[in-house]
Symmetry: C2
Subunit: 209 residues, 2 copies
DNA sequence: GTCTATACGGTGATAGAC
DNA sequence: GTCTATCACCGTATAGAC
């Protein structure tokens, strides 16, 4: 895999374009986005976008790479750190995950799109390239099961559950907001509450009583 | 809201188009899908699609309506049935939800797309039109909290958790499959296992010990 | 590097024969 | 109802001046 600059290294116009592209692609997808729209968002001319990234596909590719590279390593290095206890790890996972998405709101849109586009292979590749092994987390779970701290669970279901509950609320944000209005609750409030409640929910579900 | 025929009432060519459109729109989205592609999938001519549905947008609209109408009522009538106990309701919810999606694999794609397109209002409207009140479910939770059967939980988080864990695995299917290969497990196996494990997981997480 | 103007292809939609 | 042929438009991409 080639080397990729990440956005903090990019400067000036190129960075403007990247940020604009994240926003527009994240909202409308590869097909729905217009190069004109991205140019407008970046406050520059349409031709310049092509000057920097050659084609729409190339630009999309670049955005995908940067998005996942800014995300996976952080989460994964947490998960594969063997010196953090399982429960503590769950707490930090939820907080990190939700916080990262709050700071990069385009991520869920990309996840969904890239996955439905059949881009799973790419994601799996990045995974391997990151040099990080999820086995650490799996082993940790098996260990706690033996110790009797938690009840027997399939680690795959557990991790799927965790990720689902962190990401999906962002995709369903407009829907949830609709419900929250009834209670006069703000969506951001809801998320902050969630950072506290979700770890409890998860730990409770596997803890031995 | 106007009356809509559902797919079981449609016949012949019109039904062929609807089914093809579900498939293609679900995979590629409104913008990514091509009328030609839909026509091919239906085994008919492109002009005929326009003959039946006037425009691409109208067709998409029709597919969205039918999709949600074939889904919401079933789930919602379950949730708002006050004579089913909370735990039993959770079990049936998971099974019904996952089974419905297995039978209509295009649903998750639509959910994600329609939501990211800002179609939440439409969904909320359908909700209201269905004449069903989620309050029943909420009240039931509050009741069980008072009784002491379950620990105090925010009902909104609980329902969001339930829906997240049912839907998201379908969006992430290609990713999960990648992981499962390692264990020589089939995705359908995984789903069947999930129908059994998920209710336990949810009930465990709120049950008082 | 940044702009304006334009070429080019693809796609939604319609007309009209059968 | 179903087809073939065609139009009109829009969006990507490039050429070329500054």
């Amino acid at each position: 895999m080639e080397n990729h600059k990440n956005s903090t290294q990019l400067q000036g116009t190129e960075k403007l374009i990247m940020e604009a592209a994240k926003k527009i692609f994240g909202r409308k997808g590869l097909d729905g986005a217009r190069m004109q729209e991205i140019a407008d968002e970046a406050g520059i001319n349409k031709a310049l976008v092509h000057y920097y990234f050659r084609s729409k596909d190339k630009l999309f590719e670049a955005v995908i790479n940067e998005t996942f590279l800014s995300f996976f390593p952080k989460v994964m290095s947490l998960m594969s750190n063997p010196s953090i206890s399982l429960f503590h790890k769950i707490e930090r996972f939820v907080d990190l995950y939700i916080t990262l998405i709050q700071e990069n709101p385009h991520i869920p849109g990309f996840m969904a799109q890239e996955l439905s586009r059949g881009g799973a292979d790419r994601v799996l590749d990045m995974f391997k390239d990151s040099g990080i092994k999820p086995e650490v987390f799996f082993k940790q779970i098996e260990q706690e099961i033996k110790t009797g701290t938690i009840i027997p669970v399939n680690p795959v279901h557990l991790i799927v559950n965790m990720i689902s509950m962190c990401i999906f609320p962002f995709l369903a944000r407009p829907l949830i907001s609709g419900f929250l209005i009834r209670d006069r609750i703000d969506y951001d409030e809801f998320l902050e509450e969630r950072k506290k409640e979700l770890p409890k929910f998860i730990i409770n579900s596997i803890k031995k009583k």
